[in-house]
């Protein structure tokens, strides 16, 4: 299996790291989180997170004991990704921004980690 470990593929805020870990402890402690394209209905798909396993050709980055993976073609499309976590004024969830925004609503909404 081809694995490419990358160093500067993803940035995570401390709050995002803690939120991911907190989520994983409720799910038998898997350690691998995939960053992927997710449709959220109608126009403009967005980046999302899901619990997964490492797959063929994945780009991999270890952050604070977490394994973040992404398909290389998607990484090529979106560039460096920043994952932050918000919990304020009723807005709660992960916010994903990318160096090459997928669309004009980049980072506008929030997402949860899909199982």
């Amino acid at each position: 299996m081809m694995r490419q470990v990358r160093e500067a593929m993803v940035k995570m805020t401390a709050e995002a790291r803690e939120a991911v870990k907190s989520f994983l402890t409720t799910r038998d402690n898997p350690r691998t989180i995939r960053i992927d394209l997710h449709s959220t209905g109608c126009c403009d798909s967005s980046l999302g997170l899901s619990v997964d396993e490492v797959r063929e050709n994945d780009l991999i980055q270890e952050i604070d004991g977490l394994t973040l993976v992404i398909n290389p073609e998607i990484y090529e499309l979106v560039g460096e990704i920043t994952i932050s976590y918000v919990d304020e004024k009723g807005k709660k969830g992960f916010v994903l921004n990318s160096g090459k925004p997928l669309n004009e609503w980049d980072g506008f909404g929030t997402c949860e980690i899909k199982q």
């Binding site: 209905g41 669309n103 004009e104 609503w105 506008f108 909404g109």
Partner: protein, 886 residues
Amino acid sequence: MEQYKLFIDGKFVDAASGKTFESIDPGTEAPLATIAQAGKADAEAAIAAARKAFNSGVWSGLTPAARMAKIHDFADEVAKQGLRLAATECMDSGQIIGLAKFSPLLGIGFLRNMALAAATKFPWEEEIPVSGNAFGPGREFIRREPIGVCVGIIPWNFPMTMAFWKIAPSLIMGNCLVLKPASNTSLSALIIAECAKAAGIPDGVINVIAGPGGELGSVLCTHPDVDKVAFTGSTEVGREIMRMAADTVKKVTLELGGKSANIILDDADMELAVEGACFGTFFHQGQICESGTRVLVPSKIYDQFVEKMKKRAEALRIGYQLDPTSHMGPLVSKQQLATVERYVKIGKDEGAKLVTGGKRVEVAGIKGGYYYAPTIFANVNNKMRIAQEEIFGPVVCVIKYDSDEEAVAIANDSIYGLGGGIFSSNQARAERVARGVRTGTMWINNYHIFSDYCPFGGYKQSGVGRELGLAGLHEYTVIKRVHVNTMADAKTNMTFQLMSDYKKVDGFAYNCPTTVVAGHGALSSIYKAIVDLGCKRALILTDPGVNKAGLAQKVKNALADFCVGIYDKIPPDPDLEAVDAATAVARELKADCIVSVGGGSVIDTAKGVCVTLKNGGNANDYLNFLVLTEPQTPHIAIPTTSGTGSEVTNVSVLTSHKAGRKLFIVDARIMPNVAILDPIFSLSLPKDMTVSTAMDAMTHAIEAMTSTMSNKICDGMALQAIRLINENLPLVAADGKNEKARLNMQLAATMAGWAFTIAQVGLAHGMAHTVGALHHVPHGAACGIILPKVMRYNVETSADKLAQVAHALNVNTSNMSDRDAALAAADAIEALMVKVGHPMRLRDMGVPEESIPVCAFHAIADTAVIFNGRPVNDPNDIIKLYTEAY
């Protein structure tokens, strides 16, 4: 390359930052135009312009007809730009020219249709004939008014159409708009802005700003000067917009994602269904939110259907969007192409069978472009991600099912509910299935058909509110309720009096339209009366005793051919079922007039029958105050007692077994049309009933005088009734056949009825209702026993009125204070009761002493007590009165 600017306050301007961005042709990936890129400052300027325009009234203050005239000019300017709009839309969004060429025409039609609807069909003002508040009479109406500053945020799939869907309703309904087109496809909206300017739409009424959704959306959806946000786009963004808008409580309409089911029934025309399934999915490369991307096919035709779909999909021509032979053009962007590819991979990984497609397409002669083949997945389980998540590309899931119920269950197994289709040769079956699917639009034997007057929107996470049609126009208005009080007087306002020690209601409306025909031989007038009422089929309602006495037959004879029957099963203390049973007979006989012959029970039942016969349904449906809006079935009342006055009142008292008490229909529209007071109908009334019903009438009259609603018209009626009862009750008690005295008693009961139907009754009635309901004490007897006790209680507030009562009772009140006269009136009532042999104590009527406290708590809650001249707030007062009467 063309350059486009922002349109703010009637001017085309550069962005405040000076930034621009490029729009590209997705069919060639070549730059098409540069566009000024709005930022926060531009969004704020656009909102300010819209707010200023709205507040000035330059647009919102026009009549709908005047706005329609300007919209016609606007539509004409769109027509002038039609070719440019179509070509630009085609190149900018990837729409095939075969589709884009219709878009200006559809936009013009939409502008004109909605403007006409707003000017001619929209209910800007609406009367509310029944307010539902019996204590606050007045004219009630609503006005629908523009909301104010609206924001429209639209997607890239149908940029021109979406622009019109936001512009038309917002402007036509008098609002001002800030429109933000999708960054991929901003050009048509900016051309439409040119049309608006050319048409003379006032500055600031429409503003168009292009730029990044996230940055602009954060301003547009939180700015305090924005009143409404209408968004079409992804559910994720819509959810965030709704949350943002919540801070300033903006109105929000959202048209979001979908994963619609296109259900092919086993009796569908195969060729039509295959076309419908392919068109429903692959039209505009599947970039349509209501696409039928889950095609549900019965097992027994599944393989055959998939094979035909494959053949049809593979025959579709994919090409450059300006090529008139292209069936499908490019996807809008490389990101959208990547999303589609990603989901196709997910589908394969999930185990779905790729039947065809699943790959990019190169178009001959073009380098680049985001073309993708129509893709069919078979053997799809509805739980798979490709069946649950909207791909927004030319990818369809074909799902197998075995019964109509299973198809509906699969269709509903989605977070979305936007569109859907059914293909069947059985219309009834198709409609049955359509009813089961929780979705905003269902097409039967068709797909993707929109119509200006037909609303569009979603169930579940597909959205909030509706676009198009009158429903869509309503979304751009707010409702203002206007109440105009009937009487502009503080002392006639019952609700204001909750905070006042002045409890009397001074003003009044006297509306008692019953025609009274009274005297010896009055019965014969019924023959003319029924003709005057325009009726030909009268049903006589009565009770067994009255019928047995031959009184109903007298009426039947008087009606001659106008009588269709006698129904004599009305019980004493009638319940709702009694009304419904009589109504069933009246319906069967096609009665067009009700003639009631009897006492209060019969007449009250007849009032209920008149209501149900007119309006349908059951008596229980109409137990309420003032809910009727038009004349009821004509009613002629012939009383055989002299007590209730029901022949002229607005009340029908009916027992509801479910509620466990007597309830009311109260409405001026149930007052009988004609009351015939012929003494022959009461000559045979037994003495005890003669006396007790007379005391009911006496109580009506005296309580009408002392109630908070008393007035001088009713006082006059009441005093005359009191005089007549005082003079004639001893006569009829002594000789029931005294026709003259009987007539006087009938007149007294009718006048007392007129008095209390406007002025209401009071505490004595509330207490009598209670011992009647709990211990079956006849109403008239209970009233008589309790009345003098309550009169003495009311001396505190109503001495002057009771002094008049004393005078009417022939008490010599000279040299008496009002208080003494009032007390003398109570004594006179008791003396009259003794004289005529009326029961004097509740203990003699079967009321157990230990129930007095319970009776008091029931009585204080009785409606009649509200109107007692002396406010009744302490149950101990009532216990004391019951004890005195015991």
